[in-house]
């Protein structure tokens, strides 16, 4: 597997976007593209062509899993792996996402100092 470089990150919470950006750009060195909603991300995904999708689960309008479903319908980007972030630590959601092929499910609150390592570890399992 090629080295993980470009990540498309979607979360409706601006502060989470900020913290994640800090975590991934300061501690790690990723090319990060961030969006505040599913539709915005969907519009940009073909242009960004990320290596990985980092998606919040609970978002108004379009949830993370719904966004993922739509991306998978686009031929050019249909096989981009996805990591989900959720505040709901219920096993069913986690299990369900994993069963559907999610690379990893990260629970909030996550540790910004280790988020990058966690993502890389998941990427390396591919």
């Amino acid at each position: 597997m090629a080295e993980l470089k470009t990540i498309l990150h979607v979360d409706d919470d601006e502060d989470i976007l900020e913290i994640t950006r800090m975590a991934l750009q300061l501690v790690d060195n990723f090319d990060l593209h961030q969006f505040g909603s599913g539709p915005e991300a969907l519009a940009a995904v073909c242009e960004v062509k990320p290596d990985l999708l980092l998606l919040d689960v609970m978002m108004p309008g379009m949830t993370g899993p719904e966004l993922w479903d739509k991306v998978r319908e686009i031929p050019d980007v249909s096989d981009i792996p996805a990591i989900f972030v959720t505040a709901k630590a219920e096993n069913e959601i986690t299990d369900d996402l994993r069963a559907r092929g999610a690379l990893e499910v990260v629970t909030k609150p996550f540790d910004p100092m280790t988020l990058g390592a966690q993502i890389r570890a998941a990427w390396n399992r591919l």
Partner: protein, 556 residues
């Protein structure tokens, strides 16, 4: 009687005929000389006649057995006295005392009602059986020795310590010279009547309660009473129930579990035992306490109450709390994340003071998150959302693992965990992850509150039907006022110094919930200044058998 009557009538007639015949004979024989004899002759004749008639009367009376009638009267009087004494003796507590006041004799009722053997009271002062002798005995004796009858209510102390309420009459007795000789005390036991009265009054109130109430013998479980709603559940009339035992309505396992459940009430360890049961008709709470009636008779009283509404309210409360907790996790992610980045120095160096403040903020955000997480766990446990995956678990192994896993925390608190060796495995049917959570909680509490350098003993005790897992610390103990609510949510013992930061106040509530989901029970023993032992008990695996085949609770 008619025979006797006929005989006496005949005798009288015969006497009359005899007198008449003899008189005629005498008179006709002596007639010519009567006048010649003069007054002296008349007197002689009169005397002779009188004697003869008297003789005849005596003879006739002797034929008529006049003493039989007298004997009958005397016998009847004796019988009446005997019966009266017998009745008194049967019905009342009788004692006779010597002139000096000591007890001379007691009757069988005295022995039965008060429980003293005759030799235990004879020769003793009666004040020994008075409930509290505040000069009462002397006052009574004063009245009686003056020749008056004393009447009144008294409270006596039975040998086993229970109180017997009596109505007393004390009669003085005098010898022929008019000296006070002794006294007879006649007492009627009122306890039974009072108990019945109290029971009637109580039952009238209890009868109409919306809760089910069962009153039964603590040893045999024989039912003494069930109120209207209790009888409705058991589908029996009061008369039918009186011949039955409460345990007739239980399965063998339920009986075993119930007996274990009320053990602490019977031993006096606790005043009230509380049990929650999931019934087909909805969840119920069973509260059982020991009642000692006015007559000293022990009864167990179980009150069964539907907790469906309370459960629903609790569920709503917990669900809303859980929703709020979920909502808290997102902002917490940003707060914790930001603080963590600042603390690590990647966003620029901080002055030492600023770094300290950031650490305080970060530590408390950790604590806030722990509370939020615990609430979510508790909600999942309560709602039944958290499934227990139970399988055979060796508690001995689990305890060793727990000691190892928590050794780092113990070192941080400057204490150590000491696992008591055990030859046999201790098998139970449980969810090892959840039980580990319980152990970790009890152990971290013990570590937090133990003095530096002390050991915390972890051991498993064979309790017959159950294994008891104990965590014993040498901490400050739990003050009296905190004991009742210790297992409630958000309870923390105040006024006790914990070494590290405080917990969430939910740990023991979670432990209690997990143990309850294992049909076990959790409790503690504590002594202020000495330490506390927290323990939980789980049914031994070999006793459970095919646990899945256990029938649902039929009653209670």
């Amino acid at each position: 009687m008619p025979k006797l009557k006929a005989l006496s009538s005949l005798t009288l007639v015969l006497s009359d005929v005899t007198i008449a015949f003899v008189l005629t004979l005498f008179l006709s024989a002596l007639a010519p000389d009567i006048e010649a004899l003069g007054s002296l002759g008349f007197i002689v004749l009169f005397v002779v006649m009188s004697s003869f008639v008297a003789l005849v009367t005596v003879v006739s009376l002797s034929f008529a057995k006049p003493n039989a009638a007298a004997k009958r009267v005397i016998a009847a009087r004796d019988l009446a006295i005997y019966l009266r004494e017998q009745a008194l003796n049967e019905h009342t507590i009788v004692s006779v005392s010597h002139p000096d006041g000591t007890i001379a004799a007691v009757n069988q009722n005295f022995v039965e009602k008060l429980g003293y053997a005759p030799e235990e009271v004879i020769g003793k002062m009666p004040s020994m059986i008075y409930w509290n002798d505040d000069g009462e005995f002397e006052r009574v004796r004063d009245v009686v020795s003056r020749g008056q009858i004393w009447k009144g209510h008294q409270r006596l102390r039975a040998k086993d310590g229970h109180c017997v309420t009596v109505e007393t009459t004390i009669l003085p007795r005098f010898d022929d010279n008019g000296h006070f000789e002794n006294s007879i005390s006649i007492r009627t036991d009122l306890s039974g009547a009072m108990a019945d009265g109290a029971e009637e009054g109580r039952n009238a109130v209890v009868e109409g309660l919306p809760d089910e109430v069962y009153i039964y013998d603590p040893e045999t479980f024989r039912l003494r009473y069930a109120n209207a709603n209790g009888r409705r559940r058991l589908r029996r009339t009061l008369d039918e129930l009186r011949g039955m035992n409460l345990t007739d309505f239980f399965t063998v396992q339920e009986t075993t579990r119930f007996k274990r459940h009320i053990g602490p009430v019977l031993s006096g360890e606790t005043d009230i035992a509380r049990l929650e049961i999931e019934n087909a008709a909805g969840p119920v709470e069973v509260l059982t306490h020991l009642d000692r009636g006015p007559n000293g008779r022990r009864s167990l009283v179980s009150v069964v109450r539907s907790i469906e509404e309370r459960r629903a309210a609790e569920a709503i409360k917990l669900t809303s709390v859980a929703t709020v907790s979920h909502e808290l996790r997102t902002p917490l992610t940003s707060i914790k994340g930001a603080l963590r980045l600042m603390e690590s120095g990647v966003v620029g160096a901080l002055s030492p003071e600023a770094a300290r403040m950031v650490t305080v903020a970060r530590r408390n955000s950790d604590r806030l998150l722990a509370i939020v997480n615990d609430i979510l766990v508790l909600e999942k446990l309560s709602s039944g959302e958290m499934e227990m995956s139970r399988r055979p678990v060796d508690l001995r192994e689990l305890l060793s693992e727990a000691a190892e896993a928590n050794a780092a925390f113990a070192a941080q608190c400057e204490v150590r965990f000491v696992v008591e060796g055990m030859r046999e495995p201790a098998w139970v049917h449980g969810d090892p992850d959840r039980l580990m959570q319980v152990l970790a909680n009890l152990m971290s509490n013990a570590a937090k509150f133990s003095p530096a350098g002390s050991g915390i003993l972890l051991r498993i005790v064979d309790r017959g039907e159950t294994w008891r897992v104990c965590v014993e610390d040498r901490g400050p103990g739990i003050p009296e006022e905190a004991r009742q609510t210790l297992f409630d949510s958000f309870t923390q013992v105040s006024g006790v110094d914990a070494k590290s930061q405080q917990g969430t106040g939910l740990g023991l509530a979670i432990c209690k919930e997990i143990v309850a989901r294992h049909d076990g029970h959790i409790a503690f023993e504590t002594e202020v200044g000495k330490g506390s032992t927290f323990y939980f008990e789980l049914e031994k695996l070999d006793r459970i058998g095919s646990a899945s085949e256990r029938p649902a609770a039929s009653v209670a």
